[in-house]
């Protein structure tokens, strides 16, 4: 059974999807060939390699800069590679026919996936391991709008490799991590950034990847993007983060994006062994405290956004999520207003800390 994306994507006729992908891929090839100022880099996530090729001057810093780590050369080893090609349609002045502004579609046979937003049209071919992303107009982008580029399609490809992405943050000390899970607004960024400010290693605030040896334990959490995303009103509470580059996520929005990886290289780590799950809950006026949560509560908290939005809704992805929850303890983190109390509460999860 291939149910990837079943619940979240409209169906496209397979032949139509194949032709649309071919058009997008051909246009991407032409743009890359014609771009004298393109860039290429390599990203490794949970042992899987991405070859990132970018055409268009406005995109050459922005797209690679969103990832936690980009290398200039391939790593030796025969691991499967996802080719990720990104190009600027306005800069190239050519392009395939336009599509709906907002769209999530999947071919009937499950091979091709399309995600379209007002800014980017992205296609994934799961068979040839290729992702093409057409930025409608790089000049029209707000600075932070590519803070997690093509995360939805990347999640599909990573789930195919047995390494599902989850809608969660993660912080670590001494190579051991806690997953910070919950729906949007639960406080994931507040927890991870307050821990970063207190000297914890940071892996992400919203999108991380899990791996485990052949479905067993221990689980490892992997960083993908080197960014954080939070309300501008909250940013003022994180004075320790004033070194981070801050850009607006959208011109008319209150969200800002922080480039964490490039400004806090010592505070960033790419992978760590998972030792607990933390479920933040806002409790204004109350002291910040940690208390054990039922494993079922952790799974229920993680299913909606991790399985249906951030990852690929398959039995394997569910089992991976359930396997993580079964393997490590879960805790509620009742959060008061004192940010410094958050890392003080969490540090007790590290024996001897």
């Amino acid at each position: 059974m291939d149910t990837a994306g079943v619940a979240t994507h409209r169906r496209l006729d397979t032949q139509v999807a194949r032709e649309r992908f071919a058009l997008e891929a051909a246009a991407s090839d032409a743009a890359l060939a014609a771009s004298p100022d393109g860039a290429q880099g390599w990203v490794t996530i949970a042992g899987h390699h991405l070859r990132l090729r970018v055409a268009g001057r406005e995109l050459t810093d922005r797209v690679p800069g969103a990832f936690a780590q980009v290398r200039r050369h391939a790593t030796s080893g025969g691991a499967l590679t996802l080719d990720v090609d990104v190009w600027d349609e306005a800069g190239a002045r050519v392009g395939p026919p336009d599509v709906e502004v907002w769209d999530r579609a999947r071919s009937a046979d499950g091979r091709f996936f399309e995600h379209a937003t007002p800014h980017v049209v992205s296609w994934l071919d799961r068979a040839s391991h290729r992702l093409v992303a057409r930025v409608r107009s790089a000049r029209g982008l707000s600075p932070g709008s590519l803070f997690q580029p093509f995360s939805g399609l990347l999640a599909v490809w990573l789930a195919d490799r047995g390494t599902p992405a989850i809608h969660a943050g993660a912080v670590a000390r001494d190579g051991r991590a806690v997953i910070v899970a919950g729906s949007s607004g639960a406080g994931k960024s507040t927890v991870t950034l307050s821990c970063l400010a207190a000297g914890f290693d940071y892996l992400g605030d919203d999108f991380v990847v899990l791996s485990s040896p052949e479905g067993g334990t221990p689980h490892t959490v992997h960083a993908v993007y080197g960014t954080a995303h939070l309300d501008r009103d909250h940013l003022a509470r994180f004075s320790a983060l004033d070194r981070a580059t801050e850009v607006p996520a959208l011109p008319d929005g209150n969200k800002v994006v922080l480039r964490i990886a490039d400004r806090f290289p010592d505070g960033f780590t790419l992978a760590a062994r998972v030792q607990a799950i933390v479920l933040p809950r806002l409790a204004p006026g109350s002291p910040t405290l940690l208390r054990q949560a039922p494993k079922s509560a952790a799974l229920l908290a993680m299913i909606p956004s991790s399985l249906f939005i951030r990852s690929s809704a398959t039995p394997a992805a569910f089992r991976a999520l359930a396997g993580l929850v079964e393997a490590v303890p879960a805790y509620w983190l009742e959060m008061g207003t004192d940010l410094s109390a958050i890392p003080r509460a969490l540090v007790r999860l590290w024996p001897g800390a």
């Binding site: 149910t3 079943v6 499950g110 068979a127 079922s296």
Partner: protein, 152 residues
């Protein structure tokens, strides 16, 4: 003849944690939970038990009479069937493995636990969201040679 209840593996997948069954419908995005006797019922369904065996599993683990357990099990199975999580079929006697003796792994000890009628919690926050983007009713199997297809 017996009525056997099985999980609809085309759409449903579940996990029992701390005596609570968490089940999701991969097609609709709805997800579910049921604790105690409800988790015993789900475990028996995943094992493809008959309705009679599911009732026996509940009365074996919980301090409840057979008629009350049967009413609750039949209601729970109807609720799960309405969500397309389970399928029922009539099978000949002797075609199903007998229920193993002793308490199930879900019961904490061999003493029968205090019984409360199982509640089937339904969470539709995702399915409501996904209703804006309707799910596909039928899905084809992917080509077997996908992984071997070379890059162009």
């Amino acid at each position: 003849m017996h009525r056997r209840v099985t999980a609809n593996r085309e759409e449903a997948v579940g996990k029992i944690l701390d005596g609570e069954a968490i089940i999701i419908n991969l097609v609709t995005g709805a997800y579910y939970s049921t604790i105690g006797p409800g988790a015993v019922v789900w475990q028996a369904i995943e094992e493809g038990r008959t309705l009679d065996d599911i009732v026996s599993a509940v009365t074996r683990d919980y301090d409840v009479s057979e008629p009350i357990a049967r009413l609750d099990v039949e209601r729970l199975v109807r609720e799960m069937a309405a969500e397309n999580l389970v399928r029922t079929e009539d099978v000949a006697s002797g075609s199903v493995e007998p229920l193993p003796p002793g308490a199930s792994p879900l019961s904490r000890d061999r003493a029968r636990a205090v019984y409360e009628s199982p509640v089937f919690h339904i969470y539709r926050d995702m399915s409501d969201l996904l209703a804006l983007d309707p799910p596909m009713p039928v899905f084809g199997e992917p080509p077997a040679d996908w992984e071997s297809e070379p890059k162009e």
